[in-house]
């Protein structure tokens, strides 16, 4: 199994370590590789980390990777997107303060995402979220200038809610979280994603 991490910007090293540990917990062999160019897309699953979605989109499009990744994801390549990654996945994206702004995105998941939903860094927080659908119980996680998933439709289904918004959503081979499992002490989200990749 080969898991790629989109490694331009953001929490890519943290995702790599958390994926490595999840594989160890599950007793699986697997390779974790950074994805930056088209040729790196030869993977069984890919993680889009947290970061600035504008930066990730601009760089991915400049490197010619965005369209290729979109095509592969549409063909069923499993994708985990956390925070900025969830924004990249959403079909509907707006910003809490400045409204709609055009930015390069994948736009493949039936979710409506609002950027900077909670406000600025001052409003960033840690809280307990319910990972029981992922067999993880309650876990302490951080939300950093987090977006919120306000609406899901079609085949998208909620796996966890927090204060009235969706924080984990799954649609087929796509998984989105608005918080940062890569900065938490649990590997449950990564284990869940790896089992999606194995299917």
């Amino acid at each position: 199994m080969k898991i790629g991490i989109l490694a331009y910007q953001g929490s890519f090293e943290e995702h790599a370590l958390q994926t490595r540990r999840a594989l160890d917990v599950m007793g699986l062999d697997g390779e974790i590789v950074p994805v930056k160019q088209k040729k790196d897309l030869d993977v069984d699953g890919i993680i889009i980390p947290g970061g600035e979605s504008t930066t990730i989109g601009i760089v991915a499009s400049k490197m010619g990777l965005l369209d290729e990744l979109k095509a592969k994801a549409n063909e069923g390549l499993p994708v985990l997107g956390t925070c900025a990654g969830a924004i990249m996945l959403g079909k509907e994206v707006s910003d809490a303060k400045v409204g709609k702004k055009s930015q390069p995105l994948l736009g493949i998941m039936d979710i409506s995402v609002m950027r900077n939903y909670y406000g600025r860094q001052r409003e960033s927080f840690e809280a307990n979220v319910d990972l029981s659908e992922l067999d993880g119980g309650m876990q302490r996680v951080v939300f950093i200038r987090a977006p919120a998933i306000l609406k899901v439709w079609g085949n998208a289904q909620s796996l966890s809610k927090f204060q009235g918004t969706y924080v984990i959503v799954k649609e087929g081979s796509l998984l989105a979280t608005t918080f940062h499992p890569e900065l938490s002490s649990t590997t449950k989200v990564h284990e869940y994603f790896i089992s999606m990749v194995r299917k």
């Binding site: 953001g10 974790i32 840690e126």
Partner: protein, 336 residues
């Protein structure tokens, strides 16, 4: 992409266990793991939340701006944050006088016009400029040697704030002291406003060789080093085990071209600050974009080459040879 021995959450556990921090944090309800306390459902401004923010800047470029127009150029180019100043470091150098924090009205205008994080600088030790910026709601405060220091003896106690701080450092010793004071992010100082990357290179290399040094030391020498550095022994131990700073570490000071940015990434920087390099050039739009591309794709010389071709060397800022600066003109020596 590097794999470390410790995860973010383990590093945070360490910070929470550091005895020095406990008392301050407990008083301020920022400690959430202590069993005798009821854990608040939602906690803002904790060490974990503050240390997490800079992680999402990694691989990115943070650009100095002085106006809404420049901030918009930076955002469209793919900057991960902007840093609002009254004057660019180059102009601070030229104009002399006392350099203070930027006008809050300008910072506010920038905050309401773009979607990426907004940072701003305060004078070293100026607790109240920092309190003002916290009240304003900036995403990160840079306690910066580019401005005229307000306190020659002390830095701000950054544990007291809910917003993260970034501080400059020329060596591991300075970096660990700032982390002990509560800084959530470190950057090399370099020599700001010169368009000359040589001092940033020097500071990053000093840091790297000191990291190697403490990793090879035995325990009693590390104890001695911790005393010399004036930081907790446990922090030296953690840093040695990680083989890097336990917080995000950017390069800053004199970066002016895509190749400069790639050089600093190659030396191990987590990301790049560009000060005067963009808006003191004659091609800011395209230069900003090219530095973003080179920083994200630094491992590939062909990507950096393409970025470098986007700009015109004739339009780079003229720059200042650091050797021609008088000792009193150096900004990097303003704090230790």
């Amino acid at each position: 992409m590097r794999l470390y021995e410790l995860s973010f959450s383990e590093i945070e556990d360490f910070f929470y266990k550091l005895a020095e921090l406990k008392d301050v944090l407990r008083d301020r309800d920022l400690l959430t793991y202590l069993p005798q306390r009821e854990i608040p459902e939602v906690a803002h401004g904790t060490a974990r939340v503050k240390h997490a923010f800079p992680i999402f800047q990694k691989g990115g470029v943070i650009m100095d701006v002085t106006s809404v127009e420049q901030a918009s150029i930076a955002e469209n180019a793919g900057a991960t944050s902007v840093m609002v100043l009254d004057k660019l470091p180059y102009d601070v150098r030229k104009s002399g006088g006392v350099a203070r924090m930027a006008d809050p009205k300008v910072i506010e205008d920038v905050m309401s016009s773009i979607t990426i994080p907004v940072m701003a600088k305060v004078r070293i030790g100026h607790y109240y400029e920092a309190k003002v910026l916290e009240a304003l709601g900036v995403d990160t405060i840079d306690e910066s040697e580019v401005l005229t220091p307000a306190d020659d003896e002390h830095h701000i106690n950054k544990w007291e704030f809910q917003v993260p701080f970034v501080n400059g450092a020329r060596s591991l010793e300075e970096a660990l002291r700032r982390i002990t004071e509560g800084s959530s992010m470190i950057r090399t100082k370099g020599e700001p406003g010169t368009g000359n990357v040589s001092e940033a290179v020097k500071h990053m290399k000093i840091m790297n060789s000191e990291l190697n040094m403490i990793a090879r030391m035995n325990e009693e020498d590390r104890v001695k080093k911790a005393r010399e550095f004036q930081v907790p022994y446990e922090l030296v131990e953690l840093t040695a085990k990680l083989g890097r700073l336990p917080v995000v570490n950017f390069a800053a000071g004199g970066i002016a071209t895509p190749a400069d940015a790639a050089l600093m990434m190659w030396l191990g920087a987590d990301g790049i600050f560009v000060g005067s390099g963009i808006f003191k050039s004659q091609d800011p739009d395209i230069r900003a974009r090219s530095i973003v591309i080179a920083t994200a794709g630094w491992e590939y010389p062909e990507v950096v080459l393409e970025a470098q071709k986007m700009i015109n060397e004739q339009k780079s800022m003229m720059g200042i040879d650091v050797k021609t600066l008088k000792p009193e003109e150096l900004m990097q020596v303003r704090d230790t």
